[in-house]
């Protein structure tokens, strides 16, 4: 019974009034200016019992007769602990603002968290307010731009439904996965982008590039941003090592909202908005001589037939003002044992091209249940249904996409249907884009269920020992249906063109599961030393099955697969199994010195040797040196360093040497794959070292974070061009290494706090430079469409993102390769500056983003030049001799130099702008909080780039070969009116 005596002592120490009756406490929680704080959590220390404050900041709570301490917390404020020894009726708890967010708890292990002030590495965090507080967001990934340093978040096009690439700290892979691993409440969240198969029509993969360019969205778009409480971004191996073999591109940890003890809280929001084309380029103006020069006698005939009339096709195709609506309802609450959060969002966005748009319905239920004193259960469930009509864009080799057809058609051709609704053939190009826009379908539909469960068993909590066992499991199941319908009446499908109509129906069924079991043991020793030990194992199973049916020779306007003369099926399975374990030890001395050591071991069927364990170690240390100094102005001074390793697999299938099927004259056959598989592939390995300094001045009113990192990615896998005479065009090999070095600087400050005014500002600056440090194959060009139009080139000692091409006398041509370097897709730096100003009930938020440098390969210009339709065709700005106008000049040097197509893609834009006003509470009898506002996305854009938007990628999220533009779906800007009611 020794321990119960100890326990008694403990109680006596903390609660001298233990013998008295129950204690009732009521009071008010206020901020430093005595304004009441609503929804602050008031909890009894070391228990699950608690409540939250009402609209007037008031609360009432009953403590056991032993008394104790109240823990009062609210986001953005330092947690206060108030000892309570007897009943109180008018306790005032004055919260101190956590201006530098040093109290913020950051997830650092699979089951542990650390105060930001104690972190040994830089972790990007985005709160719900930063994510959706300014303006409504269609997808989570699109909402991350500029909100933390160290990432290049880039939209592949303006197509509704997303398609965003997130690259953390430079180049992490060349052909492998370059997108971070998403984990939502412990569930591995699939972020595949699955091609819809419209390549069958566009034939984009063929002459210049073998990659599909179907412009798919990526599946993290299915997550509802409104459900998210916070996001933590582990940018490199030094932080993500504990996630092991799939973590080299970083990890994005998403935590969704939870219910809080107290009365039900209902939040209703409605926003309506409009989106429109971000930038109009205009059209070339024409006269007879220009028509003759560009289109010859045939063109003159068409021009005269239309009496020289012109049409504003840019407005016709891209000029739709899309109505957007977002409706939101959430209810949350709970008692001591149970808390719940339920949220529903319905979003319906029209887009800037008629017949395109995005619709999403999301429902979430998060439940937390305290089953017994030692057992907590939680369940997260999410159901999403979405539908995106994405138009038909990007590169093609058939002049059928809306984009290519648009630039191929001069404004004096009449493409409008006659009174009977019959569309004329485009006399100058294989397709009529108005007909195509009106009659085709290219839709992505998703049904997705996400289930996550967690059981936490507190084995014991006694005398500084604390052992927990946690089991968690997750299920991510979805069906993605892609529907592309190209009816037989289309110009490029009828009369022997094309295949007399085509249906391309794809279905992907994803069935991914993950589970972990882990133990966390915390040991606090008397002399302010704490040890946290954790160990566990982890499993992840992927099962993706994609079937694409392509039916041609359609009967009439039928859209059933069996109403077709010919049908082709493709199936692609992606099955893998990962198993791993991890151990981690954290040591904390007086919050002054914090060190962590960890190790993860992973096996996977994605490796050539499935049963081989690969180890990923990590170590980090943070040293709060302020107590050792006598600096008075500082409130924090911390040095930190971290090292870690993480892995990345070869693309699926790379380890297999296989024969692929062919269909021929009604029979089937096998032929060697164009790519040679390699059973001995090793996973890519990233080693990252990060050093940093954090400082806080004036009670953290000014915070400063400096981080330097060096990230080496080794054993990079490449699909290298191989000697074609061996029978394979390409082969998978571990052949390269890349070094990324970068700096991230973050400054946040609260320059103004007065009774009425408050100004919060944060600036993030970051820069990355990459260099190929090993290359076992000869330097080679990769991505885009070959050296005459500009391409990437992987070359030892050079940046992996350099853009090269053939060059003429005015370029610096390497005499050996005949190539000149024309640019680099990597920006010189990024600067994001966000500001939040409040004045009484008003709140203004502005997020600005400046990307300096970084180039694109712009082939939209090339195509519109060839068709003589470039808006700047007749300007005279390029030819040094002043003889040719811009279009002819670019064409004249085409083939001799790639210079005209590689263009600076710098931009400055106001990504988000929001002004809101919280109506006086008294109007609603203190019951409800009503906020109204106006907001906008991308309202101000400044760039020289010669197209719709410098943020573009014809090849989607591919690691290398982004930043290539071929007639994309143009980007849009939007503005919104928002109302939210909370009660």
């Amino acid at each position: 019974m020794q321990h119960s005596k100890r326990l008694l002592c403990l109680f006596c120490f903390f609660a001298p009034v233990w013998l008295f009756a129950q204690i009732n406490v009521s009071g008010t929680v206020v901020d430093s200016k005595d304004n009441p704080i609503q929804f602050a959590t008031v909890k009894i220390h070391n228990s699950n019992q608690g409540t939250s404050t009402d609209a007037n900041g008031k609360f009432r709570i009953t403590l056991p007769s032993a008394g104790g301490a109240l823990e009062v917390s609210f986001i953005g404020y330092k947690t206060q602990t108030v000892p309570v020894t007897g009943s109180l009726s008018d306790l005032i708890v004055r919260m101190q603002e956590d201006v530098g967010h040093m109290e913020e708890v950051i997830i650092t292990g699979l089951a542990s968290a650390t105060k930001r002030g104690n972190l040994a590495h830089a972790v990007g965090t985005v709160s719900a307010k930063q994510l959706v507080g300014t303006t409504p967001q269609a997808t989570v990934d699109a909402a991350l731009y500029g909100k933390f340093p160290g990432a290049i978040v880039s939209a592949n096009s303006g197509a509704p439904g997303g398609g965003i690439s997130i690259k953390l700290r430079g180049v992490t892979s060349l052909v492998g996965n370059s997108q971070p691993l998403f984990i939502v409440d412990g569930v591995y969240y699939d972020n595949s982008s699955i091609q819809s198969g419209t390549n069958f029509i566009s034939k984009a993969a063929g002459q210049g590039s073998t990659n599909f360019q179907d412009n798919p969205s990526n599946r993290v778009a299915d997550l509802d941003p409104e459900d998210i409480e916070r996001i933590e971004i582990l940018k490199g191996a030094s932080t993500s090592a504990i996630y092991g073999a799939r973590a080299a591109a970083g990890v994005v940890i998403i935590t969704t909202k939870k219910g809080r003890t107290g009365k039900p809280r209902v939040e209703l929001g409605q926003s309506i908005g409009w989106q429109m084309q971000l930038k109009k380029l205009g059209q070339r103006s024409w006269d007879t001589s220009k028509v003759r020069a560009a289109f010859g006698a045939n063109g003159i005939a068409v021009y005269n037939a239309n009496e020289g009339r012109t049409f504003d096709y840019e407005d016709e195709l891209y000029g739709n003002v899309g109505y957007m609506s977002n409706t939101r309802l959430s209810v949350s609450g709970g008692n001591e044992k149970t808390s719940y959060y339920a949220g529903v969002t319905y979003r319906d966005d029209e887009a800037i091209i008629k017949t395109t748009g995005y619709r999403k319905t999301s429902f979430r239920l998060n439940l937390d249940q305290n089953v017994a004193k030692f057992l907590d259960l939680s369940l997260n469930a999410n159901y999403v249904e979405s539908s995106a009509d994405r138009g038909f864009f990007n590169n093609d080799n058939t002049s059928t996409t809306l984009g290519v057809s648009f630039v191929a058609t001069p404004s004096w051709v009449n493409l409008y249907p006659d009174a009977n609704g019959n569309y004329p053939n485009n006399p100058l190009a294989p397709s009529n884009f108005i007909q195509t826009r009106d009659l085709i379908t290219n839709n992505e539909k998703v049904n997705r269920i996400l289930l996550g469960g967690r059981a936490t068993w507190t084995v014991f909590t006694k005398g500084g020992h604390d052992l927990k066992v946690i089991a968690l499991g997750g299920l991510d199941k979805y069906t993605l249906t892609t529907t592309a319908i190209f009816p037989a009446v289309l110009q490029f499908q009828k009369d022997g063109n094309g295949t007399n109509g085509a249906l391309i129906y794809g279905t992907t069924v994803a069935n991914n599961t993950n589970f972990s079991a882990l133990a966390v043991y915390e040991l606090a020793l008397d002399n302010d030393m704490r040890f946290t030990t954790q160990a566990g194992y982890n499993g992840f199973n992927v099962d993706l099955n994609t079937i694409v049916n392509t039916a041609t020779q359609l009967i009439g306007t039928q859209t059933n697969l069996d109403q077709a003369g010919s049908i082709q099926v493709e199936q692609n399975k992606n099955i893998s199994k990962d198993r791993g374990f991890f151990v981690q030890e954290e040591f904390n001395f007086k919050d002054m010195f914090i060190a962590t050591l960890g190790l993860r071991g992973d096996k996977s069927s994605r490796n050539g040797d499935a049963d081989k364990l690969y180890y990923y170690p990590k170590a980090s240390a943070a040293f709060n040196i302020l107590p050792l100094t006598s600096l008075k102005t500082f409130s924090l001074l911390k040095l930190r360093g971290a090292y870690g390793e993480a892995g990345n697999f070869a693309p699926f299938g790379a380890i297999y040497a296989s024969l692929v099927p062919v269909n021929f004259s009604g029979t089937t056959g096998s032929i060697v794959d164009v790519t040679r598989g390699a059973g001995d592939l090793e996973p890519e390995r990233q080693r990252e070292l990060e050093l940093g300094l954090d400082a806080g001045i004036l009670n953290n009113r000014v915070g400063f974070e400096f981080t330097w990192y060096k990230k080496d990615v080794e054993d990079l896998i490449l699909k290298v061009q191989t000697t074609g005479s061996g029978g394979f065009s390409t082969a998978w090999k571990n052949v390269a290494a890349i070094e990324n070095k970068g700096v991230e600087i973050s400054v946040n400050a609260v320059p103004v706090i007065t009774k009425e005014w408050r100004w919060n500002t944060q600036a993030n600056w970051w820069k990355n430079t990459a260099r190929v440090t090993r290359l076992d194959v000869p330097p080679f060009n990769v991505g885009a469409f070959g050296a005459s139009l500009g391409t990437y080139r992987i070359e030892k000692g050079k940046s992996p993102t350099q853009l090269v091409g053939v060059g003429d006398a005015s370029d610096k041509v390497d005499p050996e390769t005949n190539l000149a370097v024309f640019g680099n897709t990597e920006p010189d730096f990024n600067l994001a500056w966000s500001n939040n100003v409040t004045w009484n009930g008003f709140e203004l938020n502005v997020l600005m983003h400046w990307k300096k440098g970084g180039d694109n390969i712009n082939l939209s210009t090339l195509l519109s030049d060839i068709f003589g339709t470039s808006p700047d065709y007749d300007k005279r700005t390029l030819d040094p001799s002043g003889q040719l106008t811009d279009g002819p000049y670019r064409l004249a040097i085409q083939g001799a130099t790639a210079r005209p197509w590689i263009q600076d893609a710098s931009y400055f834009r106001v990504r988000e702008l929001g002004l809101s006003y919280t109506l006086p509470k008294i109007w609603f009898r203190d019951v409800a909080r009503v906020r109204v506002g106006f907001s906008g996305r991308n309202l101000i854009n400044v760039f020289d780039y010669n197209s719709y938007d410098p943020e573009v990628s014809n090849f989607g999220i591919d690691a290398i070969s982004s930043n290539v533009e071929v007639t994309p779906y143009p980007s849009s800007k939007s503005f919104h009116f928002n109302v939210s009611v909370t009660f």
Binding site: Q2, H3, L428, K577, G653, F728, N781
Partner: protein
């Protein structure tokens, strides 16, 4: 100490809980869920799998023929390939201005790799035939290997036609140990030898191949006639007129038979199958079109019915400073077959061989067979070798229009400088560069 005991017990329990999951930590390899493996098929193929490899060869032969024929025909000034989505057809292929051929882009590498991919499949077929435990008689096995070698020789010849003086690799069975590049002449000899070797097991062998083929015949001795036709073509390229003569005699040459008899690449609208890659409907917009080089019309003799391959367009097609009023219309549908080798070529080879062997009468007879078929009167020109060759090259130009011969023919008679130049500064290339990956 009770607390300590309890602590140990609980800890043990927790450890057990974790340990319970460890056995599931084994990861078995997952076989390719999407495709059969190469090793499986070379070790012990079934008859069905052998057939699959054959279909793979005959289907794969058609891959990238568009780039192959466009390259050869555009440089040979037979037609223009207009493509606004890829302007290099009218710039680099025609040597516009300072533009040169790229050694690492589609028109160079795609046909090269596509042909060698089929060569790889033939090598896999040979290995599979050597190792298979399926019931195949020895003559069948030999004939089947001979089939594979014949196809391999054809594909290598296609590569050599584009690479010419660069030469090619012939020994490519092991991708990790590729044989050397042979000179042009050595390459041609090696191809000839491959065909001759194969023919030993085909000629007079009455068995059927253990699989079906869409090329000529399933019967070994019949297939030998296809082999000999190819051998005659190679012999002519090698200027080995005697060998060409004997090969012709053993081939399916029929001076009086239909000109279209022969072996073909087949196309269909079947699911997953390929359409004729050279087909465009008539009067296609100039953005994507093949239009005939104007000299094909202007150089023709009046009344030549072979001009039906180049019907007049309703409007002139212009691009990049080039103009044409005529469509390339050798293939009138998108499923029209394309010849691998056919009787009309064999008759013209016969004419050439006879001219070279100094039998002008035979040569003129063969020429007239071709001329009459095109509704042209008999040849009345001089019968010296040079004149006959000029006439034969002309008949080849019209008879085999767009079938990949013009450039090759002009080159082997050193007459590339006679090909027309359309724009000042244009070039006629002798060959495609050796692909960068082979350097």
């Amino acid at each position: 100490m009770k607390f300590q005991n309890k602590l140990y017990r609980l800890t043990a329990l927790a450890v057990l809980f974790i340990a319970a999951g460890l056995p599931s930590c084994n990861v078995d390899p997952i076989l390719d869920p999407n495709n059969p493996s190469i090793t499986g098929i070379t070790q012990n193929a079934t008859i069905g799998e052998l057939q699959n490899l054959v279909v793979g060869i005959e289907a794969g032969m058609r891959n990238n023929l568009n780039n192959q024929y466009d390259g050869i025909s555009v440089i040979g000034r037979e037609y223009y390939r207009y493509s606004t989505s890829d302007p290099r057809f009218t710039s680099e292929l025609l040597g516009k201005g300072s533009a040169v051929l790229d050694n690492n882009t589609f028109y160079t590498t795609n046909p090269f790799n596509a042909r060698y991919r089929v060569v790889k499949n033939t090598n896999i077929l040979i290995e599979a035939l050597q190792n298979t435990k399926a019931t195949i008689s020895d003559p069948q096995r030999k004939a089947a290997i001979a089939y594979a070698k014949t196809m391999q020789a054809h594909e290598l010849l296609m590569v050599l036609n584009m690479q010419y003086e660069n030469g090619i690799r012939v020994d490519v069975a092991d991708p990790d140990n590729l044989g050397p590049f042979l000179s042009k002449d050595e390459s041609l000899n090696a191809i000839q030898n491959l065909l001759n070797e194969a023919n030993i097991d085909l000629k007079g062998n009455t068995v059927d191949l253990p699989f079906s083929t869409t090329l000529f015949s399933k019967n070994a001795s019949e297939f030998s006639k296809f082999n000999r036709a190819l051998a005659a073509r190679v012999a002519v390229y090698r200027r080995d007129w005697n060998l060409a003569n004997t090969a012709l005699a053993e081939s399916f040459l029929d001076l009086n038979g239909p000109l279209t008899d022969g072996a073909y690449y087949l196309f269909s609208t079947g699911g997953g199958d390929l359409l004729n890659p050279l087909f465009f409907p008539r009067n296609s917009p100039p953005a994507e079109a093949r239009v005939v080089h104007p000299t094909f019309i202007t150089d023709a003799e009046p009344g030549d019915t072979r001009l039906s391959k180049a019907p007049k367009r309703t409007s002139t097609a212009s691009q990049d400073g080039l103009n044409s009023d005529y469509d390339f219309y050798v293939y009138p549908t998108n499923v029209a077959s394309m010849p691998v080798i056919r009787n009309e070529e064999l008759i013209l080879i016969y004419a050439e061989v006879q001219a070279q062997l100094n039998n002008p009468t035979n040569a003129v007879d063969a020429i007239n067979r071709i001329r009459n078929a095109a509704s042209l009167p008999d040849y009345t020109g001089p019968t010296d070798l040079n004149s006959l060759i000029t006439e034969i090259l002309k008949q080849r130009r019209y008879s085999l229009f767009g079938e990949g011969h013009r450039w090759v023919d002009m080159r082997r008679y050193n007459r590339l400088n006679q090909l027309p130049i359309d724009r000042p500064g244009d070039d006629v290339w002798q060959q495609f560069p050796r692909p960068m990956t082979e350097l």
